[in-house]
């Protein structure tokens, strides 16, 4: 038994109409952002982390597998995309593909190792693997060690869309996020997603029903890692750099925190959680290490009193499916 089997994860019947309304609202809100005067860089960064948290949530919220090393996909895709754009001079769309392939490859390798143990060991193994990846990137020349890859050209997407234009870049990032989001939504509502949830609830029973649970878990892990890589590739165009920060375990912790705050196993929770945490970091940027302390406090408060997260609590209170 490794699943997150307690009251904090919604198990009630899903209502697709609720989710559709919420999706349309979210999309409408995000589409009008450039006209509202909100700092677009902040929203773009938020979208990348939102996609990352959604990808992570696919694994932990639906598969019950807590990965403590998801930063390795973010960082790997970031480095690969950055290297392809800057050194090989490829077009943005190709750069994204290179990044995604890098993350997918890493997900296959680490997935085959990590799914050999369950529950608490899975978390420790993914953390150790990501630390291994971190040290490799610290030492290989192409990542430029502590400096990272900087001054990455943004280029023209499909030869038409100039990504150095903030508004164009914003909509490209938004479309990327929505594509990833819908893919995850499709996955959790497919037969594959149902089997994944059954593994979360009771793996032994799923095995006895004839499902090869290891294959499902591996597939979920690869899908999650690949999509996290997609987020990492998109982030390169926003931040225009790729650095060790994105591979460090503190980043993995932040991904967990975003998902936990928004609501594990909810459709929209990770999006809300990502924006909450990014906003918090933005406002507290001048307070030095107190940000870390506050993040720790949020962890503690969430685990002790608020396990459903923001969206999970709302959904529970209004008896809606979000």
């Amino acid at each position: 038994m490794s699943a997150l089997t307690d009251d904090s994860i919604p198990t009630a019947r899903r209502s697709y109409s609720d989710e559709m309304v919420a999706f349309v609202l979210m999309t409408a809100l995000l589409v009008v952002v450039p006209f509202t005067g909100v700092y677009p860089f902040f929203v773009m960064q938020g979208l990348c982390f939102a996609l990352l948290a959604c990808a992570f949530n696919l694994l932990v919220g639906y598969g019950g597998l807590l990965s403590f090393g998801h930063a390795m996909f973010l960082g790997t895709a970031g480095y690969f995309t950055a290297h392809a754009l800057k050194v090989w001079g490829v077009s943005p769309e190709l750069g994204i593909i290179v990044g995604i392939l890098g993350a997918a490859g890493l997900a296959v390798i680490t997935g085959l190792i990590a799914i050999r143990r369950l529950g608490i060991y899975f978390a420790m193994i993914t953390l150790a693997l990501s630390q291994l990846v971190y040290f490799i990137y610290l030492q290989t020349p192409f990542t430029h060690g502590e400096d990272g890859i900087q001054g990455i050209p943004q280029g023209k997407m499909f030869g038409i869309f100039d990504l150095s234009q903030p508004t164009t870049l914003y909509y490209v990032i938004l479309i990327g996020f929505l594509l990833g989001f819908l893919l995850i939504y499709r996955a959790i509502n497919s037969p594959f997603g149902e089997v994944l949830k059954s593994i979360r609830e009771n793996e032994q029973r799923a095995i006895s029903l004839g499902y090869k649970t290891d294959q499902y878990k591996l597939l979920a892990y690869i899908l999650s890692g690949t999509l996290a890589g997609f987020a990492g590739s998109l982030k390169v165009f926003v931040a225009q750099n790729a650095s060790l920060t994105d591979v460090h375990w503190t980043m993995s912790g932040e991904i967990v925190l975003m998902t936990l705050v928004g609501g594990l196993g909810t459709v929209f929770g990770p999006v809300v959680g990502a924006f909450v945490i990014i906003a918090m970091q933005q406002y507290l940027a001048g307070f030095g290490q107190w940000v870390t302390v506050i993040q720790g406090l949020v962890f503690v408060v969430c685990v002790l009193t608020f396990r459903r997260g923001i969206i999970g609590e709302l959904a529970h209170y209004f008896r809606r499916s979000l």
Binding site: M124, G296, V303
Partner: protein
């Protein structure tokens, strides 16, 4: 390739010292996991607190290394027991991932507070006078303090093993790990034992912190990377056996030391690579039961 015995034995000694810390920390993790079903992510932060406690005792109260060796583990152990009583206790019955998340949060809080007050650089802590200097063993020069750390850690590890595997109290403890309800039916106060167990595990971490203070300097982040290596040690050894944790801890330290001599580029990844190999060959860990 010619082997420089002097350099090799120096790296082996560094490996043995790291191995002592791995053993003390993974031992504490295993004891805590057995009773509380929690992986204590705050272990590295509490190890750091042990070192800082020794630093405060010396610079605030003028108490030397020797009292610190006793006071610091007790003080940090009590702090741990307060954490257990006020927070960890409420997670009983929940999935153990929540324990990992809660203790991760605690680690961030503790490390963040220390970083705010002490920055990220190291504070010096002098080797106690009685253990200064070194001995010439013919093939190598042995700094006495380093020898002391290895021997003292080994003794503490073996005492812990004895306490858990060979005493009445340990028998209660092992019984309560297997079936807490039944043990409570015999009139044994299991919640109090859980608190004490957490205090013991945390105390071992703090003791490792005091031992490392004169070697590695006292830094707010001294435990944060160490704990990840210790997790890999725990995955390799499995958490089923106390002796297993001790042996795995020391052996991995030695292997790391050898790597530092023969292939220094891999010295900070070798434990993780070994973890991967063990997972591929023997997924349940070397001594652990499959989970």
């Amino acid at each position: 390739m010619s082997i420089n015995l002097q350099a090799l034995s120096a790296q082996l000694l560094v490996g043995l010292i790291n191995g002592s810390f791995y053993a003390l920390l993974s031992l504490g993790l295993a004891v805590i996991f057995g009773m509380l079903n929690i992986i204590n992510f705050a272990h590295g932060a509490l190890y750091m607190m042990g070192a800082f406690c020794a630093y405060f005792l010396l610079n605030g109260l003028g108490l030397s290394y020797w009292p610190a060796l006793i006071i610091a583990p007790i003080a940090v152990g009590i702090f741990g027991m307060i954490l257990e009583r006020t927070m960890l206790k409420w997670l009983t019955g929940l999935d153990h991932l929540y324990g990992l998340l809660l203790t991760f949060g605690l680690a961030l809080i503790i490390q963040g507070i220390f970083q705010n007050y002490f920055g990220s650089s190291g504070l010096p802590y002098a080797i106690p006078d009685q253990l200064k200097g070194g001995m010439n063993l013919g093939f190598m020069f042995l700094p006495i303090y380093r020898g002391w750390v290895v021997i003292f850690s080994l003794v503490v590890c073996l005492l812990t093993w004895y306490l858990i595997e060979r005493t009445q109290l340990g028998a209660y403890l092992r019984a309560a790990t297997e079936n807490p309800t039944l043990v409570r039916a015999f009139g044994i106060n299991v919640p109090r034992m859980i608190t004490l167990t957490y205090g013991l595990g945390v105390g071992l971490a703090a003791l490792a912190g005091v031992l490392s203070a004169p070697i590695n300097q006292v830094r707010p982040l001294m435990g944060s990377d160490l704990i990840i290596v210790v997790f890999a040690v725990v995955v390799i050894g499995g958490m089923g056996s106390i002796m297993g944790s001790i042996i795995t801890g020391f052996s991995l330290g030695i292997i790391e030391g050898l790597t530092k001599y023969f292939y220094p580029e891999a010295s900070n990844t070798v434990v993780f690579v070994l973890m991967v190999l063990v997972l591929l060959v023997k997924p349940a860990g070397l001594t652990g039961r499959a989970t």
